[in-house]
């Protein structure tokens, strides 16, 4: 039938036009993508020193703290998040086009341990002694129409080799009572000096809590509401964190500091919304990532006591970590 013929011709033409459009867009956008950063111009090590470790164009890099905008050493090693302490590093790295792993690094950036993790890199930390390595990933929802994102947080004891793949299995005490719920999510771990006590964020029933954890006892206990992405100060007395404005993450976060003795919260001078787990450069200064409108990152710093003003530390970089 001619009408059938006409329909088949129309269909074939549509396939050609739409196929050309899809392929053409892919080719053009691939061509206009920026060239990858030139890697390995200078040696990068994680040995303690007055340098700032960060991710530059998805690669591990260091810059002198005294002159952060000066020449930067960029390594071959690709990481989306990086952190280091006492010569031990953690790197959340791609293992294929869509999967990621936690890579533990020695001071010369050689991998000493690899763990496959589900989901997409979010946070990474190493305890001050270099012993405890922790991470958080985002795990996507099962379907486009149910936007259920969740987090997976785990840690590794580099001395014993024991790994916890999800903190959601830990026993929870909320306001002094045992608590359980299928919607529990944990993210943003920071370990204390004893390498057993840790702090993290626990979210459930639409609220977010600071929890204090005990790695050996496998427990977490709520401490205070509306504290996310805690970062313990070097002396262990204060926690830098992001505080949701009006307790509503949709309104953004204010970078703040909680004094664990008085439980008083001091907002820093940074007015922009900070969606990061801050790093302590020393006992008085915080470093964190801010993103420009197009998503490009810069590392900024601000005094922890609420004084002063934020200043840009490292343009075009993210995931800052002092090398202590």
């Amino acid at each position: 039938m001619t009408s059938t013929r006409a329909k088949l011709v129309t269909l074939a033409a549509s396939v050609v036009v739409l196929g050309t459009l899809a392929a053409g867009y892919a080719v053009v956008s691939a061509r206009s993508a920026p060239a990858p950063a030139s890697a390995a111009d200078r040696a990068v090590t994680l040995r303690p020193g007055p340098r700032l470790l960060a991710v530059t164009d998805r690669h591990v890099s260091t810059a002198a703290l005294a002159d952060p905008t000066g020449p930067r050493a960029v390594a071959d090693r690709e990481c989306l998040r990086v952190y280091a302490a006492a010569g031990t590093g953690v790197c959340l790295a791609p293992s294929s086009a869509w999967s990621y792993q936690v890579v533990v690094l020695d001071a010369e950036l050689r991998p000493t341990r690899r763990l496959d993790v589900p989901g997409l890199p979010n946070r990474a930390r190493v305890s001050a002694s270099g012993r405890m390595v922790s991470w958080t990933t985002f795990v996507g929802g099962d379907s486009y129409t149910s936007s259920g994102f969740s987090t997976r947080t785990g840690f590794l004891d580099t001395r014993t080799g024991a790994a916890v793949t999800t903190l959601e299995d830990f026993a929870i005490r909320r306001d002094g009572r045992p608590y359980r719920s299928p919607d529990v999510n944990v993210w943003g771990v920071t370990f204390a000096g004893d390498d057993n006590t840790f702090y993290a964020t626990l979210s459930t029933a639409g609220k977010r809590w600071l929890v204090r954890g005990d790695a050996a006892a496998r427990t977490v206990t709520t401490v205070r509401e509306n504290v996310e992405c805690p970062s313990l100060s070097p002396d262990g007395t204060r926690i830098a964190f992001k505080e949701a404005v009006d307790a509503d993450p949709a309104k953004g976060w204010r970078l703040s500091v909680l004094d664990l003795r008085t439980m008083r919260v001091t907002a820093t001078a940074e007015r922009a919304s900070v969606d990061d787990q801050a790093a302590w450069l020393d006992g008085t200064t915080l470093a964190y990532t801010l993103r420009q409108d197009d998503g490009r990152p810069d590392v900024w710093s601000v005094p922890a006591d609420g004084s002063g003003a934020p200043r840009m530390l490292l343009p075009g970089a993210e995931s800052p970590s002092p090398l202590t």
Partner: protein
């Protein structure tokens, strides 16, 4: 290929004997709609597969802020689904309304490119996509019922849902193939997804035929336009009321995929990165079983197959609460869960279609599906509470009990309808 057969009426019954059937025993319109669904699901699942990568790594957004609006969207699309069904009935343009739904979802893929890093804009785009899905489902299913003789509806829905499942299965593979070819360029995936979705609209426009309502549905009065009053009358119509009630009740006893996979993963300590494979296993069982179970429903009746399907759901929950461990638990649970979907998703609509008056059938199907969607929303909240109070194992045992009770009541509600309408 179905293409050679679709231009002729599918339900023509040659004089004497059984009605002639096309490839796989279903009509051309059903195969055309199945093809549209297959292509659309490839497009939708392409986006599903890369959306987390895009939000987290492409845009560096914190995706936890997205879940908040979920309930609002579900409620809004539920209402609009019924409105879409009514418009399709009133103007007898089911194909047009379904097509508008498919087109809306296609455009939403391009919307992702324009939304940039704005969280509200991305939320709006996802809402438009869902709206498209919401308004197209009921007219599409109504088209299937209107193009198929009542005694072949089970098979027709079975074939349609199997084709749908194949698309959902292929989507992520296509998306990852695009990423392998062009690198981490999510925009290219969205443009490709749009092109695929647009192709589905072309197939719908060219090959899906909408016939006038079957003769004998309402006789000469059929020329009147469906009024709001007539559509609302569905809720006073006893069979329709029983259908909606049963669908909502059964929906209330269904705890949702997320919970099933979470329970399975916790029971078996499935390596977390293999977690997505649980859904793959279920959909594989679903697409393999949907066709045969649909055909079975035509032979032994739709209600027995639906009952069997909820029996499989009951078994799934018992397994999750019970003592079986290891690979047997994993394989058995996923197979039963896929069986549940294959025996209920299309078959329930095949059961509902002939019971609903042809003039307001799209509205009726929309009501059934909306009742189910709202019940799912409520059941996931209730199951979350049960988990908090009793713990996961006890909560799923209670869910199994709820399935049994809902099933008994539903059989009581539905048995009189099927006795009257089928066979």
């Amino acid at each position: 290929m179905y293409l050679s057969t679709v231009s002729r009426p599918a339900t023509d019954a040659p004089a004497g004997g059984r009605p002639r059937r096309r490839l796989a025993g279903v009509g051309g319109t059903v195969l055309a709609l199945g093809t549209v669904s297959l292509i659309t699901d490839v497009s939708a699942e392409m986006v599903t597969a890369v959306l987390p990568l895009y939000l987290v790594l492409g845009l560096n957004l914190s995706p936890l802020a997205f879940g908040v609006l979920d309930g609002v969207y579900t409620g809004a699309t539920a209402v609009l689904r019924v409105v879409g069904g009514f418009v399709a009935d009133r103007f007898r343009r089911r194909k047009l309304v379904a097509g508008a739904g498919y087109a809306l979802s296609a455009v939403a893929k391009l919307g992702l490119l324009l939304a940039g890093r704005s969280v509200p804009a991305i939320g709006a785009v996802i809402a438009v996509d869902r709206l498209g899905k919401g308004i197209r489902t009921a007219p599409r299913d109504a088209l299937i019922t209107l193009a198929t003789p009542p005694d072949a509806l089970g098979r027709a829905f079975g074939v349609h849902r199997a084709m749908d499942g194949v698309g959902a299965f292929l989507g992520p593979l296509v998306a990852f193939a695009v990423l392998l070819a062009v690198g981490p360029d999510y925009d290219a995936v969205f443009v490709a997804s749009f092109c695929v979705a647009a192709l589905a609209v072309v197939v719908l426009v060219l090959f899906v035929r909408e016939r006038p309502a079957p003769v004998g549905a309402a006789g000469g009065a059929d020329e009147r336009r469906v009024t709001v009053r007539e559509a609302a009358g569905l809720l006073r119509d006893r069979p329709a009321r029983r259908l909606v009630l049963a669908a909502a009740l059964l929906g209330l006893a269904t705890i949702g995929d997320g919970f099933v996979y979470l329970l399975l993963q916790r029971r078996e300590d499935v390596g977390l990165r293999w977690f997505p494979l649980l859904a793959v296993g279920t959909s594989l069982a679903y697409l393999l079983l949907a066709g045969p179970l649909g055909a079975l429903a035509d032979r032994i009746g739709r209600l027995p197959v639906v009952v069997g399907g909820y029996g499989a759901l009951f078994g799934t929950y018992l397994l999750l609460a019970g003592p079986v461990h290891g690979w047997p638990l994993l394989v058995l649970t996923l197979a039963l869960y896929g069986l549940f979907y294959a025996a209920t998703d299309g078959v329930l609509i095949a059961l509902a279609g002939p019971v609903l008056p042809a003039r307001v059938r799209t509205t009726g199907i929309a009501l059934v599906q909306t009742g189910q969607a709202l019940a799912y929303l409520l059941s996931s909240v209730l199951f979350g509470l049960a988990w908090q109070v009793w713990g996961p194992r006890a909560a799923v045992a209670v869910a199994a009990l709820a399935v049994a009770v809902a099933l008994l009541v539903s059989v009581f509600l539905l048995a009189p309808l099927t006795r009257r309408s089928s066979r």
